[in-house]
Amino acid sequence: MIDILAIFSYKFFQNALLGGIITSAACAWVGLFLILRRESMLGDGVAHTAFGGIAIGLLLGVSPLLTALVVSIFSVLGISYMRKKGLANSDAAIAVIMAMGFALGLIIVSLAGGFNVELFSYLFGSILTISTQDLILVTVLGLVTIAFLGAFYKELISMTFDEDAARMKGIPVRSMSIFFNILVAMTIVLSIKVIGIVLVTALMVIPGLAALQLNLSFRRTVAASVGFGAMSTFFGLVISSLYNVATSGVIVFTAAAIFAFVAAYRRMGR
């Protein structure tokens, strides 16, 4: 077993902590809005379409996260378009786009003859092996997401609570929704390295859900959600390094344990 203090001195672990905590903070904040907008599964759907983008990146030899970002943005806008035009409700639109994105990935993988090891790291995350290039991308996307939410959170709450009233007050609801959807895509892409495509939705939804148990004001709910997300990633990284088990799995279980603890605490407090 690795010494608990020694792991903090490793450069790869410091990079993982930095990338992981920025990612989980952005995820928790975006995820809270997704829960309140009743779009929790949007993250899962878009993450699966990112698989197609990653396959394109691996095939072309460019950064898979960049190609995943492009495909994810088109996917989230596609889901939004289908809903708006009445082609499908939210769930059905997510199902269609998710399946198409994943199918695209499968076709490319089969055409290329497979890039199994690399694909595995994107499907299940590999934060401990994050490259400097990916760390820069994750940090930039994460900070852009946090800055946007920090600047426009009051408009986003207004829209989430009552879209018609927000429109009547001159808030550009349509543009803000498009920007928010792009943020969702960005957040998912930056999460892929941390937790992987398959589990990305956990990092978006569980911390927010835990924070909502506490019956706090909005600002405090955001703070609690971000705090729970960062704690999940921190302890997930430390525990998985100590016991040499899959980091993404431990992060999800840590988040779930925090949720269970908070929910039990709330019920005991009643």
Binding site: L36, A151, F152, K154, E155, I157, S158, F161, D162, D164, A165, A166, M168, K169, G170, I171, P172, A211, L212, N215, L216, S217, F218, R219, T221
Partner: protein
């Protein structure tokens, strides 16, 4: 004081599907008036308000707000609306009373900017004005029906609108809370001179507290509520010949303890 029209509706007809819901409505609301909109369920009260606010497109007729045709009207900061469904929100929505009221100060003018100290001062003033001072940090989901409605009125009022539309704001609330709510609106109307147009089924409150009544049952009958006001005729036009309602202006003081 010379009366000044803030809302002029002329020959307004609105249909939903093939059915005419409001027909040839013509009336004027002056600055500072407190008008009640009454009528049977499905009579067109909400349709009339949504038509005035431009949410529903009329078949014919015109609406002028502050002298400007609705088609060209863009001063929505001067108008506030609390919908019938405002209180039917997800009770787990994580917002305190203070945060909810502060959303009233969010708009195009401060897009992407923080609320100022002046904004928060207005928020706190309106929370106190609606008698919610002790509840400012309480989660909105934990409030009673009457308290929630006062929060939404505070949210609408915090923008300092000149005209306030309320659609059945206290449906399903106990009589004591209703009375307190109407008193609060009367106080706002008197203190700030704000024009209030409220849809209500509480005929006593409308006749005792308000200055004008719009009786909507496809056709819109308008009457001033003065000392010699006699509601029987317009009530029968709206609710039918057999409708019976006893009203004596001098009993209003006994009905309302203020």
């Amino acid at each position: 004081m010379e009366s000044q029209a803030v809302l002029e509706v002329e020959k307004l007809t609105i249909s939903r599907g093939n059915e005419v819901i409001v027909r040839d409505a013509t009336f004027t609301i002056n600055r500072g008036e407190y008008a009640g909109v009454i009528g049977p369920n499905g009579g067109g009260k909400t349709t009339l308000i949504l038509g005035i606010l431009g949410t529903l497109k009329p078949d014919s007729g015109s609406v002028r707000l502050f002298g400007q045709d609705l088609k060209d009207f863009n001063q929505w900061d001067r108008v506030a609306y609390v919908s019938q469904n405002a209180v039917n929100f997800d009770s787990s929505f994580p917002m305190s009373v203070r945060e909810m009221v502060s959303l009233g100060r969010v708009g195009r003018h401060n897009l992407g900017r923080k609320l100022t100290a002046e904004d928060w001062k207005a928020v706190d003033e309106h929370i106190s004005l609606m008698g919610l001072g002790d509840l400012r940090d309480r989660r909105i989901g934990q409030l009673s029906g009457g308290q929630k409605q006062r929060v939404f009125v505070a949210k609408a009022m915090v923008r300092n609108p000149e005209i306030l539309f309320l659609d059945e704001p206290i449906a399903g609330v106990d009589p004591e809370t209703q009375e307190a709510f109407y008193k609060k609106l009367s106080d706002l109307n008197a203190a700030k001179g704000i024009t209030i147009i409220i849809i209500s089924h509480d005929l006593t409150a409308v006749f005792c507290r308000m200055s004008k009544v719009l009786c909507v049952s496809r056709d819109v009958h308008v009457s001033e509520i003065g000392e010699d006001f006699e509601p029987t005729e317009i009530l029968r036009k709206a609710y039918g010949e057999h409708f019976h309602f006893v009203y004596h202006k001098h009993e209003c003081k006994g009905e309302f303890h203020d």
